[in-house]
Amino acid sequence: MTMNRQETEQLIQEVLEVYPEATGKQRAKHLMANDPTIEKSSKCIVANKKALPGVMTARGCAYAGAKGVVWGPVKDVANISHGPVGCGQFSRAGRRNYITGHSGVNVFADMNFTSDFQEKDVVFGGDKKLAKLIAEIDTLFPLVKGITVQSECPIGLIGDDIEAVAKKSAKDIGKTVVPVRCEGFRGVSQSLGHHVANDSLRDWVLHNRDDDDSFESTPYDVAITGDYNIGGDAWSSRVLMEEIGLRVIAQWSGDGSMPEMQTTRHAKLNLLHCYRSMNYISRHLEEKYGIPYLEYNFFGPTQIATSLRKIASFFDETIQENAERAIARHQPTMEAIIAKYRPRLEGKRVMLFVGGLRPRHIIGAYEDLGMEIIGAGYEFAHNDDYDRTFKELQDGALIYDDATSFELEAFVERLKPDLIGSGIKEKYVFHKMGIPFRQMHSWDYSGPYHGYDGFAIFARDMDMTINNPCWKNMQAPWKQPMNAEAARAAA
């Protein structure tokens, strides 16, 4: 059942009825029925606003955006979670951003460095402790390429001067030390953390090797930005770039490293996957080093082919021919996958509620499998993300910004989708409601989903989730309608 715009508006009104008047009014601005003809979202949806008190939001904090998303995957730096021990511990190794290398030798991203704040540090300040900690890391792990100081809430509250400590320590140990002012209370969601982390890269890291020209660049150098290598995503994207003759000189930041980031300035084109979290640094790279950026989408064969052609159009004819050849080479495999899974998935209806990019990017992959997106929403998108979303979604689809857990459950009860793609906080709620669910932040312990290799895994995962026999056993045996055999036995 596809809803038209009026029906969707009607549904939104009905769901909003339970709220107190003021809350309902505020929330109404975050919900809408899609109209693909709209170019500018600022008139019809409000985004990136503080969640209301009393509702359950799925959002994270600025620290999550900076330490967890942007800085976390950089493998050769030690990220200090500066503050109490919990933030670092609970954000460690949960995101499945894969890394090559040896822990403690050239990989430090899998460890938890924390200043473990105690009461006395809050009372007397933690700057001395931080300086000691940085020196200690340098002694224990001399191969570390840089150290970042990711502030947790108390640092901002007590007014510690981590910039001063970073400057002094950098001189003492002779390495890059980056203070990141990503206190959790800043901003309305993790989105500000992305911005803060991008700015810290701009101010403390990027320019450090500007006078070093030893890097030999080629006319085919590109950088992959905004790919965090979830389940190996960046690798399955990278092989495609290499197949069409481009050289990937940097990965930001999945399986990326400090030297890669500093040599990014030699790239000819900056390929931007996650616009939401890395557009800031892309804009800076364009202004300072003249590297244009290009948004691409590697979910599903249709989008991959479009993106590969778009990327190739920035280069000469050899690359363009290579791109055509690569697309043709993968075509039969993709057709076989679609032939196998499409009949099992055709017409299934999907609702998505993910971070700041995927609700629009993965639509193509679902459509390649004949599935239909009936609702999509972001936790922390801004209006420019919605500008890009309207075109991708079908007319009348439900759009929800920062949906509260009540709204999401109410929408699901009414729309009865065949699959929900959202995060771990939603997963078990919907499992208990008897609805197939995929955790689309970290691909539900699977992946990669990017690229041609990823699509094969994506199709298999969607099939094994939706067509899992367990969904037929959701009703207790004594509540099921009596079958013929049981009826005979009873008679």
């Binding site: 500018k40 600022s42 990136n48 911005h195 804009r283 364009e286 202004e287 801004h382 209006n383 420019d384």
Partner: protein, 70 residues
């Protein structure tokens, strides 16, 4: 006096990006766009207006500048 970045988008239009607000709008009119002077009053697609101290020559874009909100 917001900090903004001026750049040309893929379609070749001039866009103004307000860094702090993370807000991007196309510039629909620019007072001085020709040779000799570049800048002045500009109107955005959402109706807001800004003033940019004119440059003597057309600057290389993208460019971070401070503009005055009108």
């Amino acid at each position: 006096m917001p900090n903004v970045m001026l750049r040309n988008n893929a379609a070749g239009e001039l866009v103004l990006y307000i860094t702090k607000k993370d807000h991007e709008e196309t510039v629909v009119s620019l007072e001085h766009a020709g040779p000799g002077a570049w800048g002045g009053e500009m109107q955005l697609s959402d109706g807001s207006r800004f003033y940019l101290e004119p440059f003597a020559q057309t600057p290389k874009l993208p460019l971070s500048v401070r503009v005055k909100r009108l």
